[in-house]
C-alpha cells in the first residue's frame, strides 16, 4: 500500500435527503474525512448501475449511494428501486473481486447531518484498511475493455 494512501469515494446523493443532510453537516460544521466526491442526482433511483461500474472502472476505491429512508422518498418509491439494483449489483461486484465494503447504500434523511459524518468516516476507515482496490485477475481484461469503450 502506498504511503499516505487516501481512498477516493464517489458518492451519489439524492437531492432531497442525503444531499441536504450533507448540507446540514456543513452548516453544523461537523468535521469528516475529505475523501468523498459528491455527485448530485434527483433520486437514488436515478443511479444507473453503469454509474457505479464506471466509477470503479475509472479508479474509485468506493462508491456510496445516499437516499431517503424507506417510505420517505420524495418520489414515493425511487429508493426501493435503488435498493433492488443495489442487491443485484453487489453480487456482480463481488464476482468481479470488489470487496463488499467498497459499495454501500445508506438511507440518510435531510435532518441527519451527523449520519453523513459517521457513514463517510466509517467507510473511509474501512477502505483504508482494505487498501487500494485490486481487480479480480480473471476478469481484468474484460473490465478494461468496458472502461475503454
Amino acid at each position: 500500500m502506498p504511503e499516505n494512501y487516501e481512498p477516493k469515494i464517489v458518492a451519489f446523493f439524492c437531492n432531497w435527503c442525503t444531499y441536504l443532510a450533507a448540507d446540514l453537516a456543513g452548516t453544523s460544521r461537523m468535521k469528516y474525512a475529505a475523501n468523498t466526491r459528491v455527485i448530485r442526482v434527483m433520486c437514488s433511483g436515478r443511479v444507473d448501475p453503469q454509474f457505479v461500474l464506471e466509477a470503479f472502472a475509472k479508479g474509485a476505491d468506493g462508491v456510496l449511494i445516499g437516499g431517503c429512508h424507506p417510505g420517505d422518498c420524495h418520489y414515493q418509491e425511487g429508493n426501493y428501486k435503488a435498493l433492488r439494483r443495489y442487491y443485484l449489483l453487489k453480487r456482480t461486484l463481488r464476482e468481479m473481486g470488489i470487496e463488499e465494503e467498497r459499495f454501500r447504500l445508506e438511507w440518510i434523511s435531510a435532518a441527519e447531518g451527523d449520519r453523513v459524518r459517521t457513514v463517510v468516516n466509517d467507510m473511509v476507515q474501512k477502505l483504508r484498511a482494505l487498501g487500494p482496490r485490486k481487480m479480480n485477475p480473471a476478469i481484468e481484461p474484460e473490465l478494461e475493455e468496458v472502461a475503454a469503450s
Partner: protein, 664 residues
Amino acid sequence: MSERNGIVRIGVYVCHCGTNIAAIVDCKAVAEYAGGLYHVTVSRDYKYLCSDPGQELIRQDIRDHKLNRIVVASCSPHLHEHTFRTAAEGAGLNAFYVHMVNIREHNSWVHENREAATKKAQDMVRAAVRRVVFHQSLEKVRVPVHPDVLVVGGGIAGIHAALTLANAGKKVYLVERQPTIGGHMAMFDKTFPTLDCAACILTPKMSSVKAHPNITLWAHSDVTKVEGYVGNYKVEVARRPRYINEDLCSGCLECIEACVYKEPKFIDEFNMGLGKRKPIYIPFPQAVPQMPLIDIDTCIQFKSGKCKKTCVQACGDRHAIDFSQKEEIRNIEVGTIIMATGFKAFDARRTPYYGYGTYPNVYTSLEVERLVNASGPTAGDVVLRDGRKPKTVGIIHCVGSRDEGTNRWCSRVCCMYSLKLAHLLKEHTDAEIFNFYIDIRTPGKGFEEFYQRLLSEGVHFIRGRVAEVTDWALDPTEENKLVLRVEDTLLGTVRRIPVDMVVLSVGIEPHEDAQDVRRLFNFGCGSEGFFLERHPKLAPVSTFTDGIFVAGCCQGPKDIPDTVAQAGAAAAEALALIDTGFVEQEPNTAYVIEDECSGCKTCVPMCPYSAVYFNADTKRAGIHQVLCKGCGTCVAACPSGSIKQHLFEDDQIFEEIEGVLTYA
C-alpha cells in the same frame, strides 16, 4: 465532444465566501488549476460571488469573452443556484448552462486539512467543467397555480392563516381533526404575560372563520390522500360522521339537554377528564362549528339500538339527528397547503417518579388550565380531586423537556406558563407556591417583567430538578401531603417540600402520527418529529416540497405570538404563489429517444406517477412531460439507454464521474 455543442467557452468562478471557504480551500489555487482545464476561457476567484459586483463580474465576462458555460464553485446549489442562473440570464445566457460546485457545505465547512480540501475542490471543479460541456439550453416549464388553499389544523395557527388568506379574497378549506376548531389555545385560561383571557381573544376569530364566506370549515375530518405538486394538489378529505346533519342543525343544543342521561357521565376530553359530558355533547360552549356530536362508544342507541331517543324528540321537526350518517369523502383541488397541525402535550406518565396517575393530586399544566378556568369543570374553583382546597402548590418545570431520558429540547413556553399558573393559583387560592426550575427562561416581550412581578408577589423559586414526588411522610408536617424531594442547587442541599398539589409543567411534543402526516403530504421531518422547514433562518415557513408551508408548533415549540406571526408568514408565502399565478418548474423531466426504444416496457412500472406509457401503435415508450416529476428512475432502468433526463443526462453524469476520478 465539443463539435456537438459548438465551441464551448467556460467561465469558472471560485467564491471565497469571505473566509467561509477561503480559510480552508485555497481558492486562488483552485481557480488557477481550473484555468488550465480544457475549454476553460476565464477562471477567477472572488470574495463574494453572490454579491451584486460578483454577479456583475460573471455577466461582464459572458459578454466580453463570449462565455457559453458557467461553473460557480461556492455554496450549496440549494442556496444560490437560482442567483447564478438569474445572473447568467441577465447576460443573455440560458440559465441551464450554469452549474454549481458545492465547496462550502460539502467542503470547507466539514474539512480541516487545507491540502485535502483544496484537492477535493479541484476534483469537483474539474468534474463540473467536464459536465457543463454537455449542458443544453432548456426552457423552464410554467404551471398555473390553483388559487384555493388548504389549511390543515384549526388551532390558532390554522385559524390565523385561514383568515388572512380569506380576507385577501382567497378561497380556503380549513380541515380540523377535532369536532371543533380552537386547538390548545381554546383550553387555556389566561395567556402570558399580559394575562388576557384566551377565550376572549380566540373565540371571535373562531366565529369569523365560521362566518367567512371564503372559508369552508370541515371539522371532525381528516385529510386522507394528497396527490399532485405545487400549484396543483388534489386532496381527499374524509368527513367523519357527527351523526348530526349540519345543514339542519340550528345549534340550539336542546338535544343535549334532552339526552336520556340526565347527568353528564362520561369523561370530557376537552376538560382533560376533569369534567363529565353526555354521549351527545358539544366540546365547549363556544365551540365552532356550534353543533353537537354523538359519541358512538357511549350512546345507548349505538350500543344497543334500544334508546328512547329523547334527543330526536327534542330536535323535533328539524330532523337534524341522523344515526345513519356515514363518512363522506370530499375531493378538492388546491394550489398551496399550510400545515398547522400543532403539538401534543408530553404524557406525564412517562416520568413515573413524579407520580402522575398514581397520586390524584398530581396534575398536568393543561389540567390546571381547565381547573382555573371559569368555564372549566369546577367553574374556576380550584379544588383538588379529593375535594380539598390546596394550601401549598409545587410547580415542577421542564417535565418532558431538557431531559436526556425523554425530550432533549426546551419547550419554550413552560417557564412562562408556569409563572402564569403560579399567579393564577395564588389569585384563586392564596396558596403558597413553589416553582422548581432548572433555569428561568424569559426571552420575550414583557416576559422578564412578568417574572419580576411574580417574584414580588411572593412566589417561591427553588433552583433544582425535582428527583421524585412521594406521599411518604417522614415527620408529622408531611402527613397527608405530597413530598417533593429536590436538590436546591443554590443552597447546595437536598430539601423535602411537602405540598397539597403538584403541577407538572409538561413540554411540547410532535403528534404521535406526525411522521405519517408528513409522509402523506410528502415533506420532511426532523429526527424528533417536528416538521422540517426549508431553511431555519431564511425559509422558516417553507418546506422542501414546493407549495407546502408550515406554521405553529408542528414545526417546533413556540408561544402564541410566534405562532400567529408564523401563520401570517405562511399565508403571505401562499399568497405570493397564488398572485404570481404560475410556478416555474425545473425542466429536469425524462424523455424517450424513440428511435432507440425497443419497446420492452421495463420503464412503465418504474414510474409512480404513471407518466411513462407504452404507445401500442408505435410500440415505443413515451413520457407525459406534465406528469413527470424528474426523479430519473426510469432513466436508470432503461436497458437500451433510450430514456434521457434533462439536466441529469447520462453523458453529464459519466463526465462527472470521470472528472472527479481523473488524477491530473
